[in-house]
């Protein structure tokens, strides 16, 4: 459903962040993208969601070339993106953002179901402003809820585990598994968490702006875990 063809991306000062990535995401799959910090994972997510435009290469979504499509156009086509660093809005309420994401005025019971998936109680949160009064972990969970509310064809989550407590994280892993089981959409999750890697259909390792390796979880995960025990990072091997 999503095909990346020879994607490259340079930042304005000329540094080459994404070198030459080609990869196809299958419909209904749960793909986990992992790799060392600074390797280009978030840049790749931004390129897919349209926050950045590739220097070269093509992006196809459901067979359509979306390389030159803007963020809004891609969102309307069914691409959702949960930011690594959620954005705060003075004045907008949690409920406002979730209604907007869902494209309808959500009932309290629907809001309850949605926020429960990220370990939040709707009654305590829907009337709160998305401002500095919310902690980092609360913001992160609300950000994830906005993407879940969209029920998009392709949902991208950038390090959803960051800043989330263990209990909420378990709920989130279950939610990802539900989406996977019910075939409710394709998931592309950037993560370093073993529990998320374990539920992947496929793992993609990105380092130095390239796909280092990719394949079914059963092939890639043992290699990654074995690498943890070595002195040198296996991802850095030539």
């Amino acid at each position: 459903m999503l095909t990346l063809e020879h994607i490259a991306w340079d930042i304005p000062d000329g540094e080459n962040i994404i070198q030459d990535i080609s990869y196809t995401v299958g419909e209904g799959k749960l793909i986990v993208v992992t790799g060392p910090n600074g390797g280009g994972k978030t840049s790749l997510a931004k390129l897919i969601a349209g926050l950045e435009k590739p220097t070269s290469g093509r992006i196809l979504f459901d067979g359509e070339d979306i390389t030159d499509m803007d963020i809004t156009g891609r969102a309307k086509k069914g691409i959702a993106y949960a930011f690594q660093q959620p954005v705060r809005f003075k004045g907008l309420l949690v409920r406002d953002l979730l209604d907007l994401a869902a494209g309808e005025k959500l009932t309290e019971s629907k809001l309850c179901v949605l926020l429960e998936k990220v370990g939040l109680c709707a009654r305590e949160y829907i009337g709160r402003e998305i401002n500095a009064g919310l902690s980092g972990g609360e913001m992160k969970r609300i950000e994830i809820a906005t993407v879940l509310a969209r029920k998009a064809k392709l949902s991208i989550f950038d390090e959803p585990e960051a800043g989330i407590d263990l209990w909420s994280f378990s709920k989130l892993v279950e939610t990802f598994q539900d989406i996977q089981r019910e075939q409710e959409g394709t998931l592309l999750i950037i993560s370093h968490q073993e529990r998320i890697l374990e539920i992947a259909d496929e793992i993609v390792v990105i380092a130095k702006g390239k796909v280092r390796t990719h394949g079914p979880k059963d092939e890639i995960l043992p290699e990654l875990l074995a690498g943890e025990k070595r002195a040198a990072c296996p991802l850095e091997k030539k």
């Binding site: 926050l51 809004t72 969102a75 809005f89 003075k90 004045g91 907008l92 406002d96």
Partner: protein, 305 residues
């Protein structure tokens, strides 16, 4: 009352054909409707300069409406409204002001409001300002508010001005006795060549008095806003002010917050931020399917809500 007044009342004071509670409706400098209730008496001042609103002690849950409308050019309305709120009362005062003027000339409303809150009195004061009409007419609203809060009194002022007023100078002064609390939430949006100035002076004179002053504004077009505030802590007290402004187009904002502490235990804090809408906020809403323009409008309307 005329049709323009009726329309303005719907906009500025949630009028739906009647007011439930005491009211005084002012149109082009005259009174076009008044009602007192058992606990809330509205009477004309002897010198004819305005009205007095007497709220009996322990009055609970009642509302008073005192909207003022100017419906044509070349009207300059000046009125004094004095509120005497009895001990232990707990009421809501709704004071919208609508100015309509077409063609040329100036339409102006000057409302001087004085609040005398006795011990333990609680007031929620809601005020919405709006200008409407076509042509080059100049619409001006210059409200003055003086508030005196005795021990344990509480005044919450919720003021909104979202468009159509060419010039406004809003002056608010308050003096607080022990444990009295003042909360002000001000929202202003200016556009075109509008000018808006707000000026707050709050004195806390009794121990454990508190003020929380929150101003949110949006300056669009070529408009200009000034925010001046002085919070004086003369006792053990807590003062906080927060001034946030969003600039759009060529809008300009000057914020001059001042704090003056004259007691070792006066805790005074000010926060201010002026700037354009953060790019990441627009991007986040775009990822939810809004266009850049829709995202901007949603951020502004949320900010001023």
């Amino acid at each position: 009352m005329n049709q323009i007044t009726e329309q303005l009342l719907k906009e500025v004071s949630d009028y739906n054909g009647e007011f439930k509670g005491a009211y005084n409706i002012r149109e082009d400098g005259g009174c076009v409707g008044r009602q007192s209730t058992e606990h809330i008496q509205i009477v004309s001042k002897e010198d004819g300069s305005g009205i007095e609103i007497h709220i009996a002690p322990q009055t609970k849950g009642e509302k008073v409406f005192i909207p003022a409308c100017v419906t044509r050019s070349n009207v300059s309305d000046l009125v004094y409204n004095d509120f005497f709120v009895g001990e232990g009362a707990d009421v809501t005062i709704v004071a919208g002001c609508g100015i309509h003027a077409d063609n040329e000339g100036e339409a102006k409303h000057n409302g001087i409001h004085r609040f005398y809150l006795e011990k333990g009195a609680r007031v929620l004061y809601q005020e919405k300002h709006l200008g409407t009409g076509k042509g080059k007419a100049f619409r001006r609203i210059d409200p003055v508010t003086d508030a005196y809060l005795k021990e344990d009194a509480y005044l919450e002022m919720d003021t909104v001005q979202l468009g159509g007023v060419d010039s406004t100078v809003r002056k608010t002064a308050a003096k607080l006795d022990a444990r009295a609390k003042l909360i002000v939430r001000e929202r202003i949006m200016t556009n075109g060549e509008d000018r808006a100035k707000t000026d707050f002076v709050v004195e806390m004179n009794g121990d454990d008095a508190a003020v929380d002053l929150i101003s949110r504004s949006v300056a669009r077009g070529n408009s200009y806003q000034e925010f001046d505030s002085v919070i004086k802590g003369n006792s053990r007290c807590h003062g906080h002010s927060e001034c946030d402004a969003i600039l759009v187009d060529q809008g300009r904002v000057l914020a001059s917050p001042a704090l003056e502490a004259a007691n070792l235990d006066a805790e005074l804090i000010h926060e201010a931020a002026i700037g354009k809408i953060a790019g990441e906020q627009i991007i986040k809403l775009q990822t939810l399917g809004l266009t850049e323009e829709e995202a901007q409008e949603m951020i502004i309307s949320g900010f001023l809500k």
